[in-house]
Symmetry: C2
Subunit: 562 residues, 2 copies
């Protein structure tokens, strides 16, 4: 079998390793700031691609990521495979049965959420295709159709993540949004598949266009009915007779690959087939949460970062950044989606603020839009300027979604004690042998970061402690105080291997002693943080693991991996 | 970026999907028969490659798995990446700290386990290189060195699996074998890397041979000391500050890819670098069992099957099967390894049977040997006949290992009730309302497969039941009987949603009623199966899940995924 030479293999390992490491690292940073990982992953690619590395060290870039030759071929094939797997996972998250149960409101929101941006996009693109970066095509419908579809698709994963962060996922509003996004995704992808059929055939593909479209719709209907039923019957057999989770993983992947091959063959892109298989499998009640999570980890920690980073390798994001176009696309996209979904919400009888929150939630585009745009670029439907504008629009709508909903509904992210604990306020081992000494020692640790004198903190916490002991039992103690002079909560943790007697109800000494300071004006903060700590350490195993931590990092690692 | 055409993408998805599906399916079948999965995975490749498909439908094979061109390039790159990841996992399983603690016996077994087969192999290959399928090379030492090393390496994963199956893993004997295999693996791969250095340089590689060997040894020493310490320090940070398990997965993979690039560049193969990183990471106490398992699933359910299946695509296993050579290789390999390790065991004061059991355990080669052979084939050190002989030897030694140890130590695999339960003896829902009726109904279900009259089974089980009720509480009842007229145990399960009163100590009705028949001569069988059922259903959640199963398949799926 023909294979790469030694130096090509070396480059392949280096290229994939660099892409993976940088994409993951930037993705983690993006998440740390509450943003979707895809933002960081693409940024990694932009740094490694023509936009930055190509300017600074063009030879290095050409050596690591050549645009032609065997290495380019192998890397782009990895990317194709990765994006197909990403769409498989996106499909798995589409829960059709639940979505259709949400009834009329969801359907109205979804229908108007497609119709309004579609109409706006189609109108704009028909009137002025050239100024929107459309490429002249034999078939004048293709660019307007594509542009309209690109504005209409929402990004289910981003929307779900935003709702979860705001604790809205399991509310009525959350379920309506998710259901609408599911229907929206499905409809959008089917429309897009039809457009791809139009392009593919115009581009000299084997099948006539009517055949491609008929096969696309027929295959979709087949997979979502007979295919779905067959998968539902096959899954228990696969689970029973193969090793777990390897068997089900391979089964899902193989189905997705075959379906991808079929849709690629009929002239729409491979990813559509993978997406359909995801929907068919994800809808089965035999698909356990754990299996879904395993496939999800597997794909979103390795394949998705690789794919999104390679996007940055293809396009120069600075040279093709056209501020006017970016603004125009952003305005049309937001206006269409927010107005469409918001009005649908109002008509369905939602309160005003809730209806607009639905609009902003559905407005998030994220990864899906970017994939769509990339395909359009590869098929020659849009130029690089338009692609960059679509990417910016996708990221900007995702970024604004969370804060806008938070504002409209006056929701706050629940506060977590880990946000206020740092390496400097992690005291281990705690030297103090008694309650009094422990509080003093932790007050000293908190003094630098709060800007208060240790004595002030100590006095306030001890005054509270004297009223009633804060030992909660189970090796935990939670001394706390409200102080008018601090702006944000501050938490110190002392780990005492020998334990300190805190008069706990169970008579056990405390090994994990948290000192919690909150602003006097912020009524809810203290209770939220106390509740968060109590809930986190309800688990005995975690308490023991945390007591064995010797540094702040080890402590966080114990929390994460438990 | 240059990419595949539509039809090439279609072929890529089809090829990968077919390889994955067939390899996993055959791997599962092999496991079902208690054999290593790699046996089935390679068989899938042999079926799809020149050996079978190439004979039956050469055009189809050429279309799906072309030997030249972009698709061949992409598939062989996938295989290269997959085998590097497989070696990463193999490295993760090498627990150096534990191995070195096993002390002198392990070191003796490991040292003689390398020295004796190495000496035998070296002698044979020096005397008659041509008749052993060696390829004439500028450097006459290369073939004997390779052949000697190929005979000396054990296969840690196969050995560990065999010991676990026989419940020997945590015994003294098991620990010695594992420790010896770990040292053996490590030493074997270092020797092999040096040989690759010799070949690579002889084959026109950039670096002089002394440089390659110095870099190999230096890099090995560096990764296993400073690298290992750095990883140990970095791991808690990665766990604490990235999402889990995606962060640690990407970290491990990226390190492995960089190290692979380095070793490929210095002229030994990429897999050696991945293996070293695996050893360095796997040895850290911060590497939790769960993280290891996640990486392992990820690799052994997708990448390993893909790689081993592609081996079958490269070689015609029938045309290159030389019975004399196969026999010769097998005899030299077994004689050297079993004698070396057995004698080492005897000298270290083991009992005779135990010492030979150690010999047979260490004799298992499995996947490692095959990878070694493939590299030698690609580097032109051996011909296809020798490669086939090595593969057969690797599989045969793995297959004989388990049964031989079982014989020597008179160990039996513990019997599991699921082995004796079938779809025909799964009765759901059980119609009977009382104890008497339930036993009669289950006796009827067991009659066809045991060849006994239902009345005979019923009478025996009821006689036992009348002495003392077999309701154990927790919704379980275990009526049973010994019968002189059956050969093997037989189990029926009745699932009663309403429950049947079995006079259980807790007063609860039984929902899962097992009727267990065992041969009168087989004293241990009844107790083993009863214990197995009781242990399996100790978990309340599983009992509830199993009670909801409506078919044998759903029942097995519940057991598997719990």
């Amino acid at each position: 079998m023909q294979s790469l030479t030694h130096s090509q293999i070396t480059v392949m390992f280096l290229a994939v390793g660099t892409l993976l490491l940088l994409a993951r690292a930037f993705g983690e940073v993006a998440r740390r700031f509450g943003q979707p990982a895809v933002l960081g992953e693409m940024l990694a690619g932009i740094l490694l691609g023509p936009t930055v590395l190509g300017q600074l060290a063009p030879d290095l870039m050409a050596a690591l990521f050549p645009r032609e030759g065997p290495n380019a071929l192998v890397l782009s094939s990895f990317a194709t495979l990765s994006v197909a797997l990403f769409l498989l996972v996106a499909g798995l998250e589409v829960d059709l049965s639940t979505a259709t149960r949400q009834g009329r409101t969801a359907i109205t929101v979804s229908a108007l959420g497609i119709a309004v941006p579609f109409a706006l996009g189609f109108g704009a693109a028909s009137l002025a295709p050239a100024s929107l970066g459309g490429v002249v095509h034999d078939n004048p419908w293709i660019f307007p159709l594509f542009f309209a579809t690109a504005l209409s698709i929402s990004a289910l994963p981003v929307i779900a993540k935003t709702l979860m962060d705001l604790d809205l996922y399991r509310t009525d509003l959350g379920m309506v949004v998710i259901a609408a996004a599911v229907l929206n995704d499905l409809a959008g992808w089917i429309i897009f598949a039809v457009i791809l059929g139009l392009i593919g055939t115009a581009g000299g593909h084997a099948l006539p266009v009517s055949m491609t479209i008929a096969l696309t719709l027929g295959f979709t209907a087949f997979v979502l009915t007979a295919g779905r039923a067959a998968v539902h019957r096959a899954l228990p057999w696969v689970l029973a007779h193969t090793s777990w989770p390897g068997g089900i993983l391979a089964f899902a992947l193989a189905l997705a690959l075959f379906s991808a091959a079929f849709t690629e063959w009929i002239g729409v892109h491979a990813i559509f087939g993978a997406f359909l298989v995801g929907v068919a499998i994800g809808d089965s009640s035999h698909m356990r949460e754990q299996t879904r999570a395993t496939i999800n980890h597997f794909v979103s920690s390795i394949f998705a970062p690789l794919f999104f980073a390679t996007i940055g390798l293809r396009v120069d994001f600075v040279a093709n950044f056209d501020p006017g176009l970016v603004l125009l696309v952003l305005v049309i996209a937001c206006a269409g989606k927010i107005a469409g979904c918001g009005l649908a919400g109002l008509w369905s009888g939602m309160e005003r603020r809730e209806a607009w929150a639905v609009g902003f939630a559905m407005n998030a585009r994220g990864a899906m839009e970017i994939i769509l745009g990339l395909l359009a670029l590869q098929y020659g439907v849009i130029d690089q300027r338009m692609f960059v504008a679509l990417v910016v629009m996708a990221l900007a709508t995702s970024l604004m979604s969370g804060p806008a909903i938070q504002r409209l509904l006056q929701r706050e992210r629940p506060r977590r004690f880990t946000d206020h604990l740092s390496g400097k306020t992690f005291v281990c081992p705690l030297r103090a042998q008694d309650r009094r000494g422990a509080i003093t020692e932790l007050a000293e640790a908190l003094a630098p970061s709060t800007g208060l004198a240790p004595g002030v903190i100590d006095a306030a916490a001890w005054a509270r402690e004297e009223i009633m002991s804060t030992g909660t039992g189970g090796g935990l103690a939670l001394p706390h105080a409200r102080l008018p002079s601090i702006r944000a909560p501050a938490v110190a943790l002392g780990v005492s291997p020998e334990g300190v007697d805190f008069n706990s109800p169970d008579g056990e000494p405390a090994h994990l002693i948290f000192l919690i300071l909150t602003p006097a004006e912020d009524g809810g903060a203290q209770l939220e943080i106390l509740k968060d700590i109590a809930k986190t350490f309800r688990d005995t195993g975690l308490r023991e693991k945390a007591t064995r931590a010797r540094t702040h990092t080890e402590f966080l690692a114990a929390l994460k991996t438990h």
